[in-house]
Amino acid sequence: MLSALGNPRQAAAQLMNFGLILSTAFMMWKGLSVISDSPSPIVVVLSGSMEPAFQRGDLLLLWNRNLFAETAVGEVVVYNVKDKDIPIVHRIISKFGTGPTAKLLTKGDNNDSDDTKLYAPGQNYLVREDIIGSVVGYMPFVGYVTIMLSEHPWMKTVMLGIMGLVVVLQRE
């Protein structure tokens, strides 16, 4: 409301409400990170390499603590390749050794070969700390929104426009 500009406390309160919406969303995300011990506890599947288990657009919930057992062969994990920012979700197909230095090899269920070609040059296996979490739950299709938004940037503009309109029209 424009009249709020005349009153510094009221203006500050409105700014605070807006800020708290953002910060609460961020802190909820961080809380989830802390609980699951994963830097990114929710990821969206971007490729079809894990079909038929996961399709493009599935939302995955990750867990990165080894409370009862070590990460084992057969688990679907999300890992980050050194110096690359895109997390990859694939299955562990073999494991040599135990503990944090165990050598892990991964492969997409729908791929013909294992992931050695996807790893960084000179890297032939993963270790536990490359993994940012094992998949413990998923929601089909929900993440498709983010894929659409990143592949068709004009949709972001449209969505921001709609959200702005809603905020303007519905002020409680």
Binding site: A13, M16, G19, L20, M27, K30, S33, V34, D37, P39
Partner: protein, 237 residues
């Protein structure tokens, strides 16, 4: 006094916000001293929570998750506590308070307001503490917004001020002009009607082209409620 822009009369939030803004202005004009303690505590809580989360964002962005996760865990816990306390403050301490202050006579007053969904009635709870005797009392005043908004959505300050001056003696003692009709109108009907329609309001109404039927109905409700208020006032005193 209040902003001259028109509001949508169907928007309850607009009705309430405009009235909420007008009351502190009115009391300020009567030389009441406002106390901003409640708001300041709320702002402090809210902004410290926000600052904490901004700091958390900064260190997470610069240093990554792994090296800072213990600080992050602590920040999340502290943020939850701060936000929980903020919620507690808003719902159990502020309870819709729109004004807290001291009258020129030294009496303390606190006004909280609320509306019920889809009902255009303004519920005021006025807590008064006498400056000399320390005696506390709580008044509840519920009035229809139609008393101080005209059909076109313009806010008319005088009727609202009259409601407050007549209903709350701490305000009435200071604003004797608005409080006067309540004392003088013991004979009956014409008094309150004259009090409800001030020249400036009639001026506005004629400009807005409000129907005669509408005005007549308003006069009727105005009379009734003032009458009821009078009785209420006697009881509380």
């Amino acid at each position: 006094m209040a902003s001259q822009d028109k509001i949508t009369v169907y928007n309850l939030a607009d009705l309430k916000n405009t009235t909420d803004d007008a009351i502190p202005n009115y009391l300020a004009s009567l030389k009441f001293t406002p106390s901003h303690l409640l708001t300041d505590v709320r702002l402090t809580l809210g902004f410290s929570a926000f600052a904490l989360s901004a700091a958390c964002f900064a260190w997470d962005y610069k240093l990554g998750f792994e090296s800072t996760k213990h600080y992050t865990a602590f920040a999340v816990a502290l943020y939850t506590i701060l936000n929980g306390f903020l919620t507690f403050w808003i719902f159990y301490v502020e309870k819709g308070t729109i004004y807290q202050g001291t009258s020129p006579n030294g009496d303390k007053i606190r006004i909280s307001t609320e509306t019920k969904k889809n009902v255009p009635v303004y519920h005021m709870t006025v807590e008064v503490k006498d400056g000399k005797t320390g005696e506390k009392k709580t008044l509840k005043i519920s009035r229809s917004f139609t008393e101080w908004f005209d059909a076109t959505g313009r806010f008319v300050a005088a009727p609202l001020q009259t409601v407050l001056a007549q209903g709350v003696d701490v305000i009435g003692k200071v604003d004797t002009k608005r409080a006067a009709p309540a004392a003088a109108k013991t004979e009956g009907e014409p008094g309150p009607a004259a009090a409800v329609y001030t020249p400036e309001m009639l001026d506005m109404l004629s400009g807005a082209g409000v129907s005669v039927v509408g005005s007549a109905a308003e006069t009727a409700t105005g009379t009734e409620t003032t009458e009821a208020k009078k009785a209420g006032k006697r009881r509380t005193n």
